[in-house]
């Protein structure tokens, strides 16, 4: 590496380590409490005329409506909780 690369490398890692460490600590500190089981809201489509109440199809739609992205909008839930 040239001198300029070496100088940058020497300065970049301490700075990066401080910023990222602070970020991770904050992320851990401000982590929202675990989710409480939410009352289940039936999906609107489950009550359409094509799906019988209590049927297997309704149950499938019901489960699908509850699916969230595995790493879903924590911020939204956190804001709602507060």
């Amino acid at each position: 590496m040239r001198l300029a690369h070496r100088k940058f490398h020497r300065r970049a890692w301490p700075v990066l380590s401080i910023i990222v460490t602070l970020g991770v600590i904050l992320a851990l500190w401000l982590r929202p409490p675990p989710d409480q089981p939410e009352p289940v809201q039936p999906a609107a489509s489950a009550f359409s005329s094509e799906v019988d109440t209590g049927s297997r199809e309704e149950n499938a739609l019901f489960q699908e409506a509850r699916r969230v992205f595995p790493i879903q909008r924590i911020g939204k839930r956190y804001a709602e909780a507060r």
């Binding site: 590496m1 040239r2 001198l3 300029a4 690369h5 070496r6 940058f8 490398h9 020497r10 970049a12 890692w13 301490p14 990066l16 380590s17 910023i19 990222v20 460490t21 970020g23 991770v24 904050l26 992320a27 851990l28 401000l30 982590r31 929202p32 675990p34 699908e64 699916r67 992205f69 595995p70 790493i71 879903q72 909008r73 924590i74 911020g75 939204k76 956190y78 804001a79």
Partner: protein, 351 residues
């Protein structure tokens, strides 16, 4: 080294390296999937969409951590140099694994007709003002973009086109990408997953990479501080016997650049420490078949004049050397690349 364009210059070492890399990645993905199935509640297989995101994401993160450890490890211990020689293959492969992770996320939304949700999350300005709730996918996308640029410019064609110095600057963006990835995990997975494993693994990975880079930088700095100051434009190296045979003694010019003073038997020559290929540290290499060989990718230069042996055409700067009262001295002023400057030392000087 090559005199013509080749997409990949395959050799036995690269084939072995790549086979091990692909094999270990397949083992990780297979093992992760198997464990996820074992840990799933009885009669309920884990969702393939969720699993795909987790397995490719964690695999890419671990791979990038390993890539970032290779450079400083090779500086601290020469036994890691073989890993460095083929690091670009690992980097490009990591980009593809990371891209699979990104594609799995897009696919997750696409199969549920929720792509507008993903777009909304990424394009709502107010989201970017939050810390907890920051669009983590944007962090991942930024890191993936950096990986793409690095993978796309990894070939020697781009190295030559951009010049080694600019190419090196461009590829140093991986440090930023790694920081973005750590925050991508900290603000994403770590918020949802309450298991202590996530912060522990994340912290260990980041601490290892950071410590190795700081240690490697510190080692270079300490060797510079022990430098003997030049007198009358000449840097004192020491008696010829102080230079290990077929190795180099590295000194620093007043402008901070390093000079590698090599000895090959009774011949002593000084060249810039910067390889013409990727600016690798020539002084950490050795003389093989009469040529200075770069430890990173094996580029060769003659000790006499800093020229690559035919048919190659690369040249590096040489420095005048002299024997003054039994002590080797090297000039601080470089000669034009390819200028003969080596010195033959009488045998008695080694006794």
């Amino acid at each position: 080294m090559s005199v013509g364009f080749q997409a990949v210059q395959w050799n036995r070492s690269k084939i072995v390296y790549d086979s091990i890399m692909v094999g270990l990645t397949a083992c990780y993905i297979g093992g992760y999937t198997l464990i996820a199935h074992r840990l799933a509640p009885a009669g309920k297989a884990p969702d393939w969409g969720d699993l795909r995101i987790a397995v490719f994401g964690s695999c890419a993160f671990l791979m990038i951590t390993i890539i970032l450890c290779i450079g400083p490890l090779a500086r601290l211990d020469r036994r890691f140099l073989p890993l460095l020689a083929n690091r670009r293959h690992l980097g490009v492969f990591t980009f593809f694994i990371a891209a699979l992770h990104g594609w799995s996320i897009v696919d997750w939304f696409a199969v549920r007709d929720s792509l507008p949700d993903l777009v909304t999350e990424l394009t709502t300005p107010s989201n970017y003002a939050k810390f907890i709730g920051f669009p983590v996918k944007a962090l991942g996308l930024a890191a993936l973009t950096i990986f793409f640029v690095m993978a796309a410019t990894s070939h020697d064609f781009w190295l030559k086109f951009l010049s080694p110095a600019i190419w090196k600057w461009l590829h140093m963006a991986i440090y930023l990408a790694y920081g973005l990835l750590v925050m991508h995990v900290a603000l994403g997975l770590m918020q949802d997953n309450r298991s202590p494993v996530v912060p522990i693994v994340l912290g260990l990975c980041f601490a290892t990479v950071t410590t190795l880079h700081i240690l490697a930088a510190q080692r270079g700095r300490s060797s510079e501080s022990e430098e003997k100051l030049p007198s009358n434009g000449w840097i004192v190296v020491g008696p010829p016997s102080s230079i290990p045979d077929q190795r180099a003694f590295i000194v620093h010019a007043p402008d901070g650049e390093r000079i590698a003073v090599f000895r090959d038997g009774d011949k002593i020559g000084a060249v810039t420490n910067v390889c013409a290929h990727q600016n690798g540290p020539l002084g950490e290499g050795k003389i093989i078949n009469g040529c200075i060989t770069c430890p990173w990718h094996g580029w060769e230069y003659r000790l006499d004049d800093g020229c690559a042996p035919p048919p190659f055409t690369e040249k590096i700067a040489t420095y005048p050397v002299r024997l003054n009262a039994g002590v080797v001295e090297v000039s601080v002023s470089p000669l034009p690349p390819g200028t003969p400057a080596a010195l033959s030392v009488p045998y008695g000087s080694f006794v």
